[in-house]
């Protein structure tokens, strides 16, 4: 009955869902590991968190490149103007946060005197010197940005639910592989 849905291409979908999955791993891990007493497990969790974070940073850079080189599928014509504006702002802010959060974590790690070594193999350069005050400041920045991310991801998901179950439009289907939606 409907015209066929214009979807994001496979690359965009893969990047979106992979980054989503990694955020859902890194975020709770970051909250949890923070208050652990020092133990080998804590050191491992910190490393895993950093490895995931740097992976997110790289994938999001790829997403930004994709976004600049492709036109995303259009929103349904019925979408109100204010929703278009809010969704653009939200997506822009999400991209910004997904770049800024891992980057602030990388800088914080350097400032606290721990080089980030991706997967224990690839050392990333320390872009700032070890500095206690800067380390604390960057920790605050990293946490603060994550509060925004938490709110925006919540909004992003709430919007999906609204469109799916209240508006009954096909916003979500644009980001789902063909077989997964009716």
């Amino acid at each position: 009955m409907n015209t066929p849905i214009e979807r994001y291409n496979n690359t965009a979908m893969a990047l979106h869902w992979l980054v989503a999955l990694l955020i859902f791993a890194a975020f709770p891990l970051g909250v949890y590991m923070h208050d652990l007493p020092l133990s080998p497990t804590k050191l491992q969790y910190y490393s895993y968190h950093k490895w995931i974070g740097i992976t997110i940073l790289l994938l999001v850079i790829a997403r930004v490149v994709w976004r600049f080189t492709h036109t995303p599928p259009p929103l349904p014509a019925s979408t109100p103007r204010w929703e278009v504006v809010v969704s653009h702002i939200t997506h822009l802010a999400l991209y910004g946060l997904l770049l800024a959060i891992p980057f602030s974590g990388w800088l914080m790690s350097s400032a606290k005197g721990f080089q980030t070594v991706w997967f224990g193999v690839l050392p990333l350069p320390d872009l700032v010197e070890k500095n206690k005050e800067l380390g604390q400041l960057l920790a605050t920045v990293h946490q603060g940005l994550n509060v925004f991310l938490f709110l925006l991801v919540g909004m992003h998901i709430a919007a999906v639910i609204k469109h799916k179950f209240i508006d009954h439009d096909q916003i979500l289907e644009r980001m789902l592989p063909k077989g997964m939606s009716k």
């Binding site: 050191l43 491992q44 606290k112 721990f114 080089q115 070594v117």
Partner: protein, 190 residues
């Protein structure tokens, strides 16, 4: 601590006061460093010991008489991480309450050619004494002598990091110990 060191040095200087012309034996504590490197989850870390005392005498012409004794105050450790500083003085690591210091006592020095030498000795940490070999370079600059060396120990050989910390996949077993000692020679009266 410092004045005690001075007394020890002074008395040892008096005892062996009539040795060769250039015997380096006064350790310049504020210029000398004992640092260490280790890996944690593949991440290179650097630490240092703020307090240590050293009694040494070194005359490149009389290696048979060369001596070194270095005592490290383990509580003065800086691992590069505050959280770890509190941890490593505890029982699983150094157990610094029971074993407040680590010590090296030389048993011999041999020349390796050029300005390179090799010290052998006994390293005691946490009640355990093992033989170690430490290659070092020596450079004399007037009355100043610079000793730079590095050697590797395995922390588990000394039970440093017991229990859950014995997992060397998290904190590596190999610890590189680097020393940079500045010694001055007192011009001897004949």
């Amino acid at each position: 601590m410092k004045s005690l060191l001075r007394v020890v040095l002074l008395s040892s200087a008096l005892v062996s006061g009539f040795a060769s012309a250039v015997e380096f034996k006064q350790v310049q504590a504020n210029e000398s460093t004992v640092t260490f490197g280790y890996k944690q989850m593949g991440v290179p870390m650097e630490g240092k010991f703020a307090k240590f005392s050293a009694q040494t005498s070194f005359d490149p012409a009389k290696l048979a008489k060369a001596q070194a004794r270095i005592d490290i105050d383990l509580a003065s450790i800086d691992t590069g991480s505050e959280e770890a500083n509190d941890e490593v003085v505890g029982k699983p690591w150094f157990n610094a309450k029971a074993f407040p210091s680590a010590g090296f006592v030389s048993t011999g020095v041999k020349a390796l050619g050029g300005n390179r030498y090799e010290a052998t000795g006994k390293l005691t940490i946490k009640g355990k004494t093992l033989d170690v070999t430490a290659p070092f370079t020596f450079q004399a600059n007037g009355t100043r002598g610079l000793f730079d060396g590095v050697f590797t120990i395995k922390r588990l050989d000394y039970n440093i990091g017991e229990g859950v910390w014995a997992d060397v996949g998290t904190v590596a077993n190999e610890i590189q110990i680097k020393f940079h000692l500045v010694l001055t020679a007192t011009p001897n009266k004949k």
